[in-house]
């Protein structure tokens, strides 16, 4: 066992960290957010240049074959910067789906374009009443010649308004909530019958509602007609990535809070000298370190091939991150007092981001229920 980063991982970390430090200060980010796209295209180009867009792909496809640890390195840094660009949607979700669920030809054609920054992706899986159930798909895919015709709607498609192509689930067979019969399709948002409406999210990112009215999908854009287990694996990888991002965001909240406690004076002394605030900072540290540990666990377990073991581990991580982030975030606001409530100050933005991360792909209690249903993490006595 060895927690040290490899030489390549260390170099990756250095370059991502440098990018965030140099380009993603809080004031810089405010400017990026005001761009028409809701993010800064120049930053997208820089992310492309550093080579991060190729993360999940083999080098023959323009990538560098990164796994869970590499993803965590990038996403933790992005969490520190609260990166606005559609990296998670394009690379982690989109790239992951291409890699795990698309025919080799499609992967071969698209991966280089993703890696080169030419193709932005998004993944539509939420529906009006699906909540967090990936199998709860009512959007229909009716076979039509060699292709399909789609009808339905997808909600809260993260960075759906920036995407050049939308990957989405539609039912090719079976009943609502059946695990079988869930196809994965690629849709051009400019095609006839596709309506797209973008909007900002609570955390300053972007999402879109997508409606599909007799949308024709050609055979080449049918990625998979029965894809749920593969989608689940990609979602597990995505959750692991979000865990790492949340840890980055939590670290900043912790740092900001400590900084504030050391400088803000009340009753003639730094408020960090008050024992109550000291102890509560320590409990924040505990929450942070526990979350960091589980994000690491998730990064490693995201590659596990036994699906139940993998999903249990990922659920456990999502529980820990959700609980730690809620506790740490609420305390960070509380210990800042009034200034923490304002939009001008950074801490609230991190708080909003981790709150939204808890909502993505199932909140802490939803994952706790899954974990409990499958017997927990530790076996009975040997």
């Amino acid at each position: 066992m060895d927690f040290d980063l490899s030489e390549d991982q260390r170099l990756l970390k250095e370059s991502v960290d440098r990018f965030i430090t140099d380009q993603y200060g809080f004031e810089q980010r405010k400017k990026y957010m005001r761009e028409p796209a809701g993010y800064n295209p120049a930053m997208w180009d820089q992310i492309t240049e550093i080579g991060l867009l190729g993360l999940p792909f083999e080098d023959t496809l323009g990538g560098f074959g990164g796994g869970g640890v590499e993803t965590a390195i990038v996403m933790e840094a992005f969490g520190r910067g609260l990166v606005l660009e559609p990296y998670f949607a394009t690379v982690i979700l989109g790239g992951g789906l291409l890699r795990r669920a698309a025919p080799e030809a499609t992967l071969g054609a698209l991966a280089p374009r993703v890696a080169g920054g030419k193709l932005k992706l998004a993944f539509g899986h939420v529906e009006r009443h699906s909540r967090y159930d990936l199998a709860d798909v009512t959007t229909t895919a009716r076979k039509d010649g060699s292709g399909y015709v789609l009808n339905g709607a997808k909600s809260v498609v993260i960075h759906g308004d920036a995407a050049d192509k939308i990957l989405l689930t539609a039912r090719t067979g079976g009943e609502r909530r059946d695990r079988a019969g869930i196809g994965l399709f690629m849709v051009d948002p400019t095609s006839p019958g596709v309506a797209r409406r973008g909007y900002p999210t609570q955390d300053g990112l972007r999402a879109a509602e997508i409606t599909l009215d007799n949308v024709r999908v050609s055979a080449g854009d049918v990625l998979n007609d029965n894809a749920l287990p593969l989608i689940e694996h990609v979602v597990d990888e995505a959750i692991a990535a979000l865990c790492a991002e949340a840890v980055g965001a939590m670290q900043v909240m912790q740092d900001l809070t400590l900084e504030y406690l050391k400088t803000r004076k009340q009753f003639g002394r730094p408020i960090g000298s008050f024992q109550v605030l000291q102890h509560r900072s320590v409990d924040m540290l505990v929450a942070l370190e526990q979350a960091r540990s589980m994000a690491l666990f998730a990064a490693v377990m995201a590659e596990e091939t036994n699906p139940i073991e993998r999903r249990k581990a990922i659920s456990a991580a999502k529980v820990q991150i959700g609980r730690s982030a809620r506790h740490l975030g609420q305390e960070a606001i509380q210990l800042h007092g009034g200034i923490g409530m304002t939009n001008e100050y950074a801490v609230g933005h991190y708080f909003k981001r981790v709150t939204m991360i808890d909502q993505m792909f199932g909140d802490a209690d939803t994952h706790l229920a899954f974990l409990a249903r499958h017997g927990g993490l530790f076996g009975r006595a040997a």
Binding site: R131, V276, Q334, T342
Partner: protein, 398 residues
Amino acid sequence: MDLNFTKEEIAFRDEARHFFRTAIPESIRAKVAEGEGLTRDDMITAQRILNARGWATPNWPVEWGGQDWSPVQVYLYQDEMQQANCPSPIAFNTSMVGPVIAQFGNEEMKRRFLPATANADIFWCQGFSEPGSGSDLASLRTKAERKGDKYIVNGQKIWTTLAQYADWIFCLVRTDPAAKQQEGISFLLIDMKTPGITVRPIVTMDGGREVNEVFFDNVEVPAENLVGRENKGWDYAKFLLGNERTGIARVGNSKAKIARIKELAALEFAGEQPLIQNARFLEKLAAVEVELKALEMTQLRVVSDERKLEKGKQNPASSILKLKGSVIQQQLTELLMEVVGPYVMPYQREFDGKNEPIVGPEYATEAAPMYFNYRKVSIYGGSNEIQRNIIAKAILGL
């Protein structure tokens, strides 16, 4: 001991329930239920309806429009008002500056301000906090120098709620810079239209624009706007902060939120069932309901005790009302967010956009902003940490 309401109390409750649900426009109550912000007009409209019936200022002296209600009646009035999602009378007017003027102002000042304050002809805001003085209010530095029949005010206030709506501001200002912290502070009424006053909004993280900075640059204030005596403002501020101990738990408000959560949980699905049938969700909600019921009982104990206590004394149980009440309010915003699920993500506060149709169910729009916004209830008005400091000393003798 009889914990049932008397026949008279029940009649009063029913009267209040009917009044709040019929006299106050449905459109305004719906906004309160959804957690949408009220406009200035909404607030004034509601207050004038209450005032027309004499119910805007029940806690004031009877000669100035107050009601001689029993503590139980006051409780029922608040509880029914909050449960009906009726906006409370503007607190700055009715709970804060009004009682101070009625208690410490001279006759001239009372005649000038009290009827207009009760009827919201004047919309007040409060100038207490300053950038350097959060929990440590007595360290405030905004200065008022006496020059002839005027005070010249210079300085800055912060976290001034609804200053953008306000006609007047009541301020704590330092009139004797040589005196020790709590001495040398005066209580001054200032017309917001006076030259030299600048209001700058502070956007909160939920996107709300409730609070402001207010800057005073050589603002001339007639000396007759001084409340009571110079350098005694700290006493008046303590009087002000000591009022309204019971409403602070906001039990009726939390009851309305629970009703709302149950209503919405019947519309949202978790798997094949509506969420309202999900055992785990119900247990989480029930756990908060238990705490709320306990808080209501605690509040009733305090209320029932009030008439027996000397003026100014408090039942020790009253000290926990704000602490526990704030936590319950915050927990309920978490549960509301949980009900809504993925649709909490779209950010669609109207002033931000172009009045496009709503994304997702309408009730989803305020769920996350309300969660973010409610973090304030354990910060403003004496943070929960300060509350604990005070209780430890005053009640526990530590």
